[in-house]
Subunit: 243 residues, 2 copies
DNA sequence: GGCAAAATTTGACGTTGGTCAATGCACTCC
DNA sequence: GGAGTGCATTGACCAACGTCAAATTTTGCC
């Protein structure tokens, strides 16, 4: 993780193009100046930690580029990948709001620019502009909705269906349609993370992948995936409770 | 569901003792008056619906007494019990904030008093008092944290461990310690709901209950549960991935 | 480029837990 | 009081999936 020099206007909230797509879009001109004053930009490499479970929240983080994985570990060290954060997403505000330590790890999955906004600045802005809190609230409600959908899926879908569903979600962000109607996808995560996202073991994911290939549904090579018919994945998602 | 007459001071926000334990505790005197003006009290019987998936949110609901179950259904009609709401909890604000229809059903599990606060009043209060939004935000963050913990449990615990864990949680609210060190518990939900809460089939829950009894861990009779040693339940919760 | 560590795949095996079906039980409604 | 309805329990069966272990590939790092 490297700090980016403060005067670089490519990494300044005032000019940041991500800001308009983020929670901070509700701020007025003076408030953006205040934001810029409490902000520092950092460059992370793949695998570097943005914050860790148990640490005290010392501010919030705003993703400018790259993908950040939000993970939670249980007592035995099993890691579960709960969420992928993308440019425009704000992270770590839970700890600032509750005063509790972070409940998750945040880790850059690849090269990523992430800005830090210190706690005093965040609290001042929250007090000053009710819209900012509502924006955070809307985002948190969306995350909650997402988590609850996952709970429903965990309760009703087979691992095979859950993997198909996850591939469809990843398609939205990482997929490309090629001319002949097939789609390709470069996975942002390892097989282990894939497994933890659907609540299965990584060996099981390997086997499901094998069956997807024999069934002609998706072909994997490392992190590249080729999907001849996206609809075939949709067909896989049928609630049918299974071991 | 029966409307309670408006002038009954036992069901008025100004005098409501639940208010001080709820999100609305941040309101000032004038704001409470405004709240009371936009509020109506209702009495629900067991099984009655407070709101349903797909309906447009026409305000928020505040639980005064009783327990309200928050459920989500999937496309095939499988119901998953996501949350139990207790006196002081505010429900349905997600739909008001996002403008989207309700994503869950809310249903009284037994006799319950629930107040309704109409959307204009809620929006006025949110604009007027930034603390109210922050209060909602804090509560939503807590719900999200809870949902994510469940996701981790679904990914790492066996159904038996999950049921033990659920019983411990229900003990906190519905349990009683008797003189001789044993504890008793009256379940607020059916076996089916119990099953959906841990992501298992109701037959599986029946069998786990049978094994808890042969193992001397917990004895079930209808919705009554007797637990000789609460610690025995804690022992059951060990992450060990399993079928 | 080459070594070490990590990730992935594959196999064999046992268990959990889902499916289907039958029965018993509790409650409500005429 | 009897029929009807939904819930719970139990049994038989087996497919899905976790566990353990070993082989193989990929990745990261000097």
């Amino acid at each position: 993780m490297v700090k980016i020099r403060s005067r670089d206007s490519n990494f300044d909230c005032v000019t940041c193009i991500m800001r308009k797509r983020s929670d901070w879009s509700v701020l007025g001109h003076d408030e953006v100046t205040l934001l810029a004053g409490g902000q520092s930009s950092y460059r992370y490499s793949a695998g570097e930690s943005v914050y860790s479970m148990g640490e005290t929240g010392d501010g919030v983080y705003c993703v400018c580029s790259g993908t950040v994985a939000i993970r939670r570990l249980d007592a035995e060290g099993n890691s579960v990948l709960l969420q992928l954060a993308y440019p425009g997403d704000t992270l770590g505000y839970e700890a600032v709001l509750t005063g509790e330590p972070h409940r998750c790890n945040a880790e850059a999955l690849g090269p990523a620019n992430v800005c830090h906004i210190n706690t005093p600045t965040v609290k001042t802005l929250l007090d000053q502009n009710p819209g900012l809190g509502l924006q955070f609230l809307r985002r948190t409600v969306a995350s909650l909705d997402d988590a609850q959908d996952k709970l429903v899926h965990h309760a009703t879908l087979s691992n095979r269906a859950k993997l198909a569903h996850l591939l469809l979600i990843l398609m939205d962000r990482y997929g490309r349609r090629t001319a002949d109607g097939t789609s390709t996808l470069y996975l942002p995560v390892s097989r282990r993370d894939l497994a933890s996202m659907i609540g299965a073991r990584h060996e099981t994911v390997s086997r499901i992948i094998g069956r997807f290939e024999t069934d002609g549904i998706a072909y994997f090579s490392g992190r590249s995936v080729r999907i001849p018919q996206v609809n075939a994945l949709v067909e896989e998602i049928r609630p049918q409770l299974v071991g």
